[in-house]
Amino acid sequence: MFPNAFRYEAPTSVDEAIRLMTEYGYDGKVLAGGQSLLPMMKLRIAAPAVLIDINGVDDLRGWREVDGTLRIGAMTRHAELEHSAELREQFPLLSRTARWIADPLIRNRGTIGGSLVHADPASDWGTAMMALHAEVEVRSPEKSRRIPIDEFFVDTFATSLEENELAVAVHLPAPAGPVAARYMKLERKAGDFAIAGLAVHIGLGGDGLVCDAGIGICACGPIPLRATKAEAALIGQPLTDETISAASKLVPEDADPTDDLRGSAVYKRDLLRIFASRALREIAEELHGKVGIQ
């Protein structure tokens, strides 16, 4: 299967990439890791006239700390985040999420920025970025701005990016105290998209109470969703049997799954409740030992 014919551009700097995006407008499409875009082009679901390949833009790779946030370049590959030992303590959700994305070969190629901009409702990164309260840094010829992840996804395969805006990085707030995280996902076969998934990130304050709760919901709505009610129920609380049970029951209330061949909406809602309960219990054990959550 061949994609349609297209003009190929390979910029080597962000400025050049943005200039090309401005020049070609809606005829142009940015190629990041290509693990979703190229299959879509082969099936002729996507047929851009111009492909702007940003794999040669070295500035978009890797991560560093900037003003209390971790700035991850958009072209950082899933596998790099999966295997980074240095990120594991402060941002355990990154490797825990990455290892669920497709398969190792695809993770060698796919990128965090490409995944977010693709805006698949079953995006593992979209879900994890919800839990981590991320912001997406975007650049256009005129300006640079940061879009909170809650405003980034507009609809299925649609983001709030403007035509000539390039997503250049994601920013994650650095946690002040101890954190733990889990990514839970049910898939039909190895490497598949989720039937339902859940990302949970918990930070504790010096008093042992939850000061940061992030819960992202995957594949249960038109975009990755946030379990707002469950998050609010956890803030300021200790992780106990009671608080975990109460929060887990609230997670499905913010989900909007549909019945499909993989399961009914009722089933998917219940999966989210079970995932939340398991994730929070494991997190509590990791952070506290088993004290108080028998």
């Binding site: 014919a5 190929y8 290509g34 693990q35 190229l38 082969k42 492909l51 398969d103 190792p104 695809i106």
Partner: protein
């Protein structure tokens, strides 16, 4: 577009249409037909090659993206007619039936062993989770990778022993 690609140690310069996929470039332009096209939808891994040392599905990379880079295909594994330990292990352990998926399995396993020379069974299964075999099942494939890992470790030890014995080690 003119691209220069090093494939299995040899430099090629070719004029390719941008929409040419790397798998098709290797097979049709370079006649390296060991790289198989199975599903053509980024699922099966039969087309796995190493691009700058990383295993990728070559049906989902453009040939122009390999410009200035290095590609290893299954044809690179044997040396002077001697099968690579992975190839021998697949033979010995009966890790294939029809063999269509085997080049991809070999290249994914090769990449895995480069990064993790002594993987556990779980790590092998994870490493091969992007490669689909529809006739053998994975038991013998996993055995073959384990066997190859042992052989390669023995060879490394032998080589180090020879260096030590010959007194050419520098420290």
């Amino acid at each position: 577009m003119i691209i220069r690609v090093k494939v299995n140690g040899r430099l090629y310069e070719s004029d390719v249409e941008p929409r040419t996929l790397l798998a098709y470039y290797l097979r049709e332009e370079l006649k390296l037909t060991g790289t198989h096209i199975g599903c053509d939808t980024t699922s099966c891994g039969a087309c796995t090659v190493l691009l700058d040392g990383k295993a990728v599905k070559s049906c989902t990379v453009l040939a122009v993206q390999a410009n200035g880079r290095e590609v290893l295909t299954v044809e690179s594994l044997d040396q002077d007619g001697q099968l690579h330990p992975l190839q021998s292990a697949f033979w010995e352990e009966h890790a294939l039936q029809c063999g269509y998926c085997t080049p991809g399995m070999l290249m994914a396993s090769y990449a895995l062993l480069q990064e993790n020379p002594m993987p556990t069974e779980a790590e092998i299964r994870e490493g091969l989770s992007g490669n689909i075999c529809r006739c053998t099942g994975y038991v013998n494939i996993v055995k073959a990778v384990q066997s190859a890992a042992r052989t390669m470790a023995d060879k490394t030890r032998e080589a180090l022993g020879e260096v030590a014995a010959s007194g050419t080690a520098t420290d």
